[in-house]
Symmetry: C2
Subunit: 324 residues, 2 copies
């Protein structure tokens, strides 16, 4: 049922989408096509549920390929599961489609979303397509974690060390028109740290994923735990490309501290367990770096190379989003 | 953090929302505020999951109060659970908010959504707020049903009777500028037939909720079951207000057949179980009317009062939505 001038009608949209997505998998008793999906939760585990939206002009723009959009819409949700130490099982996808959207663009989005879903063994079990003023994808992801084993934001204690995975600031720097290809990729195809989250379940006292920038997100973790934190700017892990992009800046660590969308994990670990956490990261194939300590009090303090407290930017604002 | 000219900032939006919603309930181990919710699924039951969006200018307009918008966004999802014979447990809500949206409007939406959630014993366990060009709510609802007891679209058999709950056409007629208050209310505050869905679990062979109009939705049920259906227009249940609004029309049954958004249930029941289904409906406090039979073949045929086949409209099109 194609609409005028190559635009896609309801049934074509839905067929284009579901045909390109993995729709069966663990526990899927009934996937897309009925009023709702039927899902058998794994026995003895706790469900983990989160929702996130990506909106054109807010979270992505015309520089993104359709595949990038689909990938990112799912990956940002999987990053939330990683921060809970959960494994992904199922997703539901609500698509807002402007009039005149090309079916090829929507197929590209489905391919990117499908690639990310297949890589992580996740089934898309339901969805919805609606006309809207701008293109958007709202993805709900469901996962599971052994009962009582989930990582949360509220378990950090004074004396724990603060660690962060991978490198920071790459995604924010990837927005620059002349950004290196590796930085652009970090912005458009974030890697959810699921294996690391699973590996840290009995080791970390608290965890959060970095969507709005380290300073802001660690601030949320500290607030939930009733503690403060002190970081050392010189210890923030930065990629060679990020270092090159920041050479000559007065605050070369600015993007690492306050740039958003890295989707790395920030965790707190008691000193005695840091060795085990490092080994877990090695098994997960990602670096893990000690960047500071949890303190009494509240707020995140960042020390510069000279030991003085640095001013910290307000963090990333994708035009004012937020999770609750 | 109010923005310029009374618009609402991120934290104000989130606080306004979560403060007005029920966020705890059965199985909720961790509600809003972390990277994801932690939920304990009921032992031995199957999860039921669905997502639906309502978008300004597509599913509602300025004649809706904010409370109507919040109510409807949740109710249309609960109607999907009703069609599966499931009871609701949890919801996740993604809100798209245009710049300059008044905080009072968002609080009104939260109140309407919260009222519908409380009425049905459902907890809102997570959400997301994003800037967007137009106001939208994308709601994911999770429920549960005893294993193997879910109603589906694909179980109808030739010889079953076709029944429908409540009255049809009211919601579509409620869009008219001079519509009676009772019809306007059916359009803006639909009633999900959850108790009826639960009561029909061992009685109906197939079920669907009526979002796009009887002819179209029963067509989906027939397609999934590999059968056809014959309906009698004179038997379609219509309210007194709907009859009055359609007096003088050449096709007084048009809105009942093809008007959308009634959110009644259409079910198929073997003749021997129709009495029990009627008693289940009585216990659920809603009428249930036999309107035709399931046949071999395919497609939905509608007989007029003179026994001739009527032409059937294309059904409701909220500007081309669809579930998959």
């Amino acid at each position: 049922m194609p609409g005028p001038s190559g635009s896609a009608g309801e049934f074509e949209l839905i067929a284009a989408f579901t045909g390109l997505l993995p729709t069966s998998g663990e526990g899927v008793r009934l996937g897309p096509g009925d009023d709702a999906a039927l899902l058998q939760p794994p026995r003895g585990e706790t469900l983990v549920a989160t929702v996130d939206a990506v909106v054109e002009g807010v979270h992505f723009d015309r520089r993104y390929t359709p595949g990038d959009i689909g990938w990112k819409a799912l990956a940002v949700n999987l990053s939330d599961l990683a921060a809970m130490g959960a494994r992904p099982l199922w997703a539901l996808v609500a698509l807002g489609v402007p009039r005149g959207a090309a079916a090829a663009r929507l197929r590209g989005i489905a391919r990117g979303l499908g690639a990310c879903a297949r890589l992580h063994g996740l089934a898309v079990v339901g969805g919805n397509v609606t006309r809207a003023a701008e293109l958007s994808l709202t993805v709900t992801v469901l996962g599971a974690v052994a009962r009582g084993r989930a990582l949360r934001r509220d378990g950090a204690r004074a004396g724990d060390l603060v660690l962060v995975s991978g490198t920071l600031g790459d995604a924010a720097l990837g927005l620059a028109p002349d950004a290196a290809a590796s930085l652009r990729r970090r912005q458009r195809r974030p890697t959810p740290r699921l294996a690391l989250g699973l590996g840290l379940r009995r080791l970390a006292t608290a965890a959060i994923d970095l969507s709005d920038g380290l300073a802001q997100d660690l601030g949320h973790l500290c607030g939930a735990s009733g503690v403060g934190a002190t970081l050392r700017a010189a210890d923030l892990p930065r990629s060679a490309a990020a270092r090159a992009a920041c050479a000559g800046r007065a605050d070369p660590w600015g993007p690492a501290l306050s740039g958003g969308e890295d989707y790395e994990l920030c965790v707190t670990v008691p000193p005695a367990r840091v060795g085990a956490a490092m080994r877990a990261a090695e098994r997960a194939g990602v670096s893990l770096t000690v960047i500071g300590e949890v303190t009494r009090g509240h707020g995140v303090r960042v020390l510069g190379p000279d030991g003085r407290t640095l001013p910290v930017g307000q963090g990333h604002d994708h035009l004012a989003p937020g999770r609750f």
